[in-house]
Symmetry: C2
Subunit: 336 residues, 2 copies
């Protein structure tokens, strides 16, 4: 038995406290043990702590943007070696035989398991996961700044691939936080024309540095009039209820509004708003193993990483408080 | 001056009555005069008569699924000859120079004009339109049965092309009326697996003959449980308010629900329903000139035409009454 020290919520919405659990001595055939060095804090960790999605089990150890060093590997692990630095994201395993898994889109597998749902996550010293869901990190990416790529990065990289957004597209990113500041960088690196919609326009200088060609207030509808019918692709990362029909109006014919963050309230629209310009509302969720590898290679080639605030693991509650207050610029990362 | 006999609504929601108007003696440089032999009745003609969309001008001569013979051509008309049989659909002209027009997607042109909005339509002996929006009809298609292809046909053909629906897709068509019975035929001819959702399952035998592999009640949610997560593409042609989230649940990951008919009420959904399976809600509207030509060639190759009820022009009000009562099987066509 191996004892693992972690931080856990004992019940819904609780502050985290030290928690220890044990695992068997050796990883299973496909499993690996990873000594964690860094773990990003994703907004969905808050949702899990608060049981917003009614899927949480307590004690709950959050954390699914993990970077660490492989300590042990199971007998069937073929592509990962002890001592290697790897990253682990939202998904810890999948069935590996359904139509989605064999198509390299394990993120749609109905049997998939999440790193910190029903399992103990990355706010800890160690984690044991299926080695097929651990990814070698390009050397040029620092562990601190790459950790948020494992969930946040692939969440905003995937929709550009899934929906075939071309380099000539006019792209808008709504909400420039942990996800949005990565989306700006990807869109710019893919050659697109990039607009940042933010509720805090005082961040303009930073957003331009991330790759935006222009910054627009996400709530100033009058100021958005000049952009009616302008965008090919609008990627929304926010949890706030914005006027979504206003954003549909900003789309060109055949344009697409994609949600990677779920607004609190229902989205409502007259179907005619989609029919007349052949527009789409859609979603995207993390990315499969191929997509994560591609995302890491793309990030390394273009120097795309998260801008982070680093906290020692023991200060995890301070980090969560800042995240709840929307003060983090732009992704909190725990150092173990 | 040429006098043209037609049938018009004198005010919103009025029954049609005989009406005559005059045009100049000769068509303009790009215009053609067409002696109408047949004109389909589309549900949107009812919306125009009733001014549901607040764009109608009265007296209003409906009709935008026109087939007839060219009587005269303007000086600049190069691709159409006097005596030729042509079809005309919803769109009578466009600017021909915007980005959409030069891309062959004139249906998105902001300057486009509709055949029977602000112009007198096809419930008449003649019509004068831009010859660039008249289409040669394949010889094997009868005028009566091909007329509904000009709007209804291209409306349901286009989304399969626009959204790249492949032959291996599982397709559902919701609402099997004038649009839906054509959609079943296109989906089947494209090689797809085809399901018909209808509120009148007693039509099952006919719907199977149109190409459906199965027929399902559109309102029996319990009966739809076996089809959860089944479809790649659901095309809705209805104006009724169905449980759209139920239909989103019938989509597979990456599946798409496309509206070509606009339900009366707003569509509402939690964004999470799109995010978790990377699903899309979208729309499509008629088709550009290239799409109409392709649709006609495809229809001729596969023998796809509308099943019609024929009415002499003088009985147009009887035909409209049947359409209002949802009794037409499957498209009413006027014979002039």
């Amino acid at each position: 038995m191996t004892k693992i020290n972690a931080w856990a919520a004992e019940k819904a919405a609780a502050r985290l406290s030290p928690f220890a659990y044990t695992t068997g001595d050796r990883p299973g055939p496909f499993e690996i043990d990873v000594r964690i060095s860094h773990c990003g804090i994703c907004h969905s960790d808050l949702h899990l702590i608060d049981n917003d999605w009614m899927i949480s089990e307590y004690p709950l150890v959050p954390g699914h943007e993990i970077v660490g060093t492989v300590q042990a590997v199971g007998a069937q692990v073929s592509s990962i070696e002890v001592g290697q630095r790897v990253g682990i994201g939202w998904q810890r395993s999948s069935c590996m035989h359904c139509e989605h898994c064999i198509a390299g889109e394990e993120n749609y597998c109905a049997q998939q398991q999440a790193t910190c749902v029903g399992h103990f996550g990355g706010f800890a010293e160690f984690v044991r996961v299926d080695g097929r869901f651990a990814f070698a990190l390009p050397e040029t990416l620092s562990s601190e700044n790459a950790a948020p790529l494992l969930c946040g990065g692939v969440t905003v990289y995937t929709p550009f691939r899934l929906y075939d957004i071309p380099a000539h597209a006019r792209v808008a990113v709504v909400g420039i936080g942990g996800l949005g500041h990565l989306a700006l960088q990807y869109a710019r690196a893919m050659g697109c024309e990039v607009t940042a919609f933010t509720s805090t326009p005082e961040k303009e200088k930073e957003l331009l540095a991330f790759g935006a060609h222009r910054v627009v207030s996400s709530t100033d509808e009058a100021g958005q009039q000049a952009l009616q019918g302008y965008f090919d692709f609008i990627l929304s990362t926010v949890f706030a209820d914005l006027n979504w029909m206003q954003f549909v109006g900003l789309l060109r014919p055949k344009g697409r509004l994609c949600f990677v963050g779920a607004p609190k309230s229902e989205v409502r629209f007259p179907a005619f708003a989609l029919i007349s310009g052949a527009k789409s509302l859609c979603g995207s969720v993390i990315g499969g193993r191929k997509m994560i590898r591609d995302m890491l290679a793309f990030s390394a080639r273009h120097g795309i990483v998260a801008q982070t605030e680093l906290f020692p693991l023991e200060r995890v509650n301070d980090a969560l408080d800042r995240l709840r207050r929307n003060e983090v610029r732009y992704r909190a990362v725990l150092e173990v």
